[in-house]
């Protein structure tokens, strides 16, 4: 690697460190394994509600387990369904283990979380669940999905950063996206931080590639931070929200804007610079560093 490239890479690493966007350090000994999958309908049932657009798939399932120094401190299995025929259903794991019975609301929706002791012993830890099904009273699977097998996040495979530039010189901000493996699957996250944002009214809209994906609220010192991710709930960040499904390929993100939700006037704008995979590999040791003294 040329010296100049190295300097640039190190500068970017320093920038990422300085803006505090790297998730909790792996040195903290707290590891989260988390995977969210879509549950698809094999055709056993179609929605009885035709008045509104219905998705072709109508379920998601998530497993999450958190360890501290190798000790399991929390785990859960979450299943959400939408637009089933209203009634009672069961959750079946690995083809033959019935783990829960739930009743939908009148729209056929439900949200079930089995946490810690409520997780049946024969699917503990929840990472032992591979096949997950929602079955009806006849035992037919109306939704099913397979977990690929998650693990703690590995080294990022793609990183890009953007400095937010504002017309008003005191507004500052940065954005980064990271793609990283989590076992047999992949996690994508987009982290945005702004400060010195004292304009009214809040919240400030966040747009990527010209499409609004969320809104950020700043605190008493006019600083705000949020993370869009494929696995919200990992709790690497205070505010985690689902990554908009329009941006499943996060590496296609080119621009970011912070704009007013009424007037649409843009407060700050940035363009992403992709860090090469070789630079990303250099980045990995950064995760072990403390975030002390960020500025």
């Amino acid at each position: 690697m040329k010296i100049s490239n190295l300097i640039i890479s190190l500068s970017i690493v320093a920038l990422i460190l300085a803006s505090g966007v790297m998730p909790k350090s792996s040195a903290m000994a707290s590891d989260v394994i988390e995977e969210t999958i879509n549950l698809s309908a094999p055709g056993a049932q179609k929605s009885s509600l035709s008045a509104i657009a219905q998705p072709s798939k109508s379920g998601v399932a998530r497993i999450r387990i958190e360890y501290f120094k190798g000790i399991e401190i929390e785990e859960y299995l979450n299943v959400q369904v939408a637009f089933l025929s209203p009634g009672s259903y069961r959750i079946r794991a690995n083809g033959n283990i019935i783990v829960y019975t739930f009743t939908t609301d009148s729209t056929g929706a439900a949200n079930v979380t089995l946490k810690d002791n409520a997780v049946p012993l024969n699917i503990q830890p929840v990472t032992t669940v591979r096949l997950l099904e929602v079955i009806n009273s006849s035992g037919d699977a109306v939704l099913s999905g397979r977990f690929a097998g998650a693990a703690p996040p590995g080294k990022p495979t793609a990183i890009a950063t953007a400095n937010l530039v504002a017309t008003e010189k005191y507004i500052r901000g940065s954005a980064q996206y990271i793609v990283r493996p989590i076992g047999n699957t992949v996690e994508r996250l987009l982290v945005i931080e702004i400060w010195n944002m004292h304009w009214s009214p809040q919240p400030y809209m966040i747009g990527i590639n010209g499409t609004a994906i969320g809104a950020v609220v700043v605190n008493h010192v006019a600083r705000g931070k949020m993370a869009f991710m494929t696995n919200p709930g990992r709790h690497d960040y205070d505010q985690e929200v689902p990554l908009n499904s329009q941006f499943t390929d996060i590496s296609q993100i080119r621009t970011i804007e912070i704009f007013d939700h009424d007037s649409k006037s843009v407060f700050a704008r940035g363009k992403f610079t992709i860090i090469t995979s070789s630079s990303a590999r250099q980045q990995a040791p950064v995760k072990l560093s403390s975030r002390k003294g960020l500025h």
Binding site: G20, M28, S30, A53, P55, V60, I73, Q80, A82, F83, S88, V99, Y100, T101, F102, T103, T107, A109, T113, L114, K115, D116, N117, A118, V119, P120, L121, E168, Y170, R172, N196, H198, W199, Q202, P203, M205, T211, A212, I213, G214, A215, V217, H220, V221, R223, P232, G233, D238, Q239, V241, P242, N244, S245, H261, S290, R291, K292, G293, L294, H295
Partner: protein
């Protein structure tokens, strides 16, 4: 049974059980507690906004302490200090008047975000709840910002609870908003929890607006998943991580969440309101309070002779709604077996509330409520609109369908 008919000892017992003292199926294992407090730092007059052109950016700061424990063991702690509009330069953070915690440098706008975590925290202020006074000093050791922590602890029982059903012109869009005020040691925490589902309208995100008698402001935006389901929690302490998406509650606009009267979910472009909810006041005379305990007994077909159980059903007046709750405590189960909890109503209909699984010691507990606000609360199924109409409860093996325990609600309830 009306509350007035319950004798005093039982009332006391019920009161003690009403909040928190009965762990749910998961609560017994949920030993992870977060203590957290966020305070504003005040200027001392040494500095005040070196950027007069930016009149809206005052010299200011906030500080936060956070400790997470698991079974009494500290697994994570941090101190976070954020400052804005200081004179650009070098500063240090001092705790309790004498302990220099760290030094930092602002950016060119005088802003900084300093996080000191775990081993980087001086031993003398571990755990960080020992910090009562926090100061930001300039390079001449003058105090430019200062603030005092009141002394936080893990959340206590709520003192104020409110609930609003979100309704929409589209009958499939549903949601609920809840607010909670609860003590956290000497400080107070406020939460507004907003959940929506079946939100298939485009485009996302959907803005969330609160209306009180003096304010009408959007506070944030909610993003739904591919099922059209989303949740956002506005809280004075984002970062406790009780919920997946925690955002800051603008307590300068809504200092008392119980003053919020209306919540709206609306489109940012057209301003069309997708869903709306009102935190309605309920007069005490409208509310039927009830509390009853049911001892479950084995059925003739029982295969688990040692199985025992108790179920408590209660309704109670809250600030603007009636909370319905069913607490289930079972023991003597076969470890690992899963059981359905079936409720039969006065009209003969039955609803499966949910399932429980036998722990390693054969016990299991769960709480169903129409006001879930803790991670381990389970939402009552929608068909259960009034828990006082339940007349019989049955515990069935999920695989065999065999009823192992049954109980009947006293007819004089």
């Amino acid at each position: 049974m009306r509350l007035t008919k319950i004798n005093l000892p039982f009332l006391t017992l019920v009161s003690s059980l009403l909040f928190g003292s009965l762990p749910s199926a998961t609560a017994s294992a949920y030993s992870s507690d977060v203590t957290m407090e966020t305070i504003k730092l005040k200027i001392t007059g040494v500095q005040n906004n070196p950027h007069p052109a930016v009149v809206l950016v005052p010299t200011t700061g906030i500080a936060r302490i956070r400790v997470e424990r698991f079974k009494g063991m500290i697994i994570e702690q941090d101190i976070n200090v954020q400052v804005a509009s200081l004179t650009p330069g070098n500063y240090s953070i001092r705790a309790n008047g004498s302990i220099i915690v760290t030094s930092f440098k602002t950016d060119s706008t005088g802003a900084a975000d300093v996080m000191i975590r775990d081993e980087a925290i001086p031993q003398s202020i571990q755990p960080v709840t020992k910090v009562s006074l926090i100061e930001v000093l300039d390079s001449s050791r003058r105090v430019v910002l200062t603030g005092r922590f009141k002394g936080a602890s893990v959340p206590g029982r709520p003192t104020i609870m409110g609930r609003a059903e979100l309704t929409s012109s589209d009958k499939n869009i549903k949601g609920v908003a809840r607010y909670v005020v609860r003590p956290i040691g000497n400080a107070v925490e406020q939460l507004v929890i907003v959940e929506i589902h079946n939100m298939y309208l485009r485009p996302q995100p959907y803005l969330v607006r609160f209306i009180s008698s003096t304010q009408n402001r959007a506070l944030g935006a909610i993003t739904v998943n591919r099922l059209g389901r989303g949740i956002i929690v506005f809280t004075t302490n984002p970062g406790r991580n009780e919920f997946d998406c925690e955002a800051r509650l603008a307590d300068d606009r809504f200092p008392r969440v119980q003053d919020i009267r209306v919540i709206e979910i609306y489109d940012r472009d057209t301003l069309r309101v997708f869903a709306r909810g009102q935190f309605k006041r309920v007069t005490p005379t409208d509310i039927k309070e009830m509390a009853t305990a049911i001892e479950l007994s084995g059925t003739q077909a029982e295969s688990i002779s040692q199985a025992q159980g108790r179920i408590r059903i209660m309704t109670r007046a809250r600030d603007n709604f009636v909370e319905g709750r069913i607490d289930v405590a079972l023991n003597g189960l076969n470890s690992g077996d899963v059981f359905d909890i079936e409720a039969e109503f006065d009209d003969g209909t039955t609803v499966i509330l949910g399932s429980v699984t036998g722990d390693a010691d054969g016990s299991s507990r769960v709480r169903f409520t129409n006001f879930p606000y803790r991670q381990w609360d389970t939402l009552l199924p929608e068909p259960v609109q009034d828990v006082t109409l339940i007349r019989k409860l049955t515990i069935r093996n999920i695989n065999t369908g065999e009823a192992i325990l049954r109980g009947t609600v006293n007819s004089d309830r």
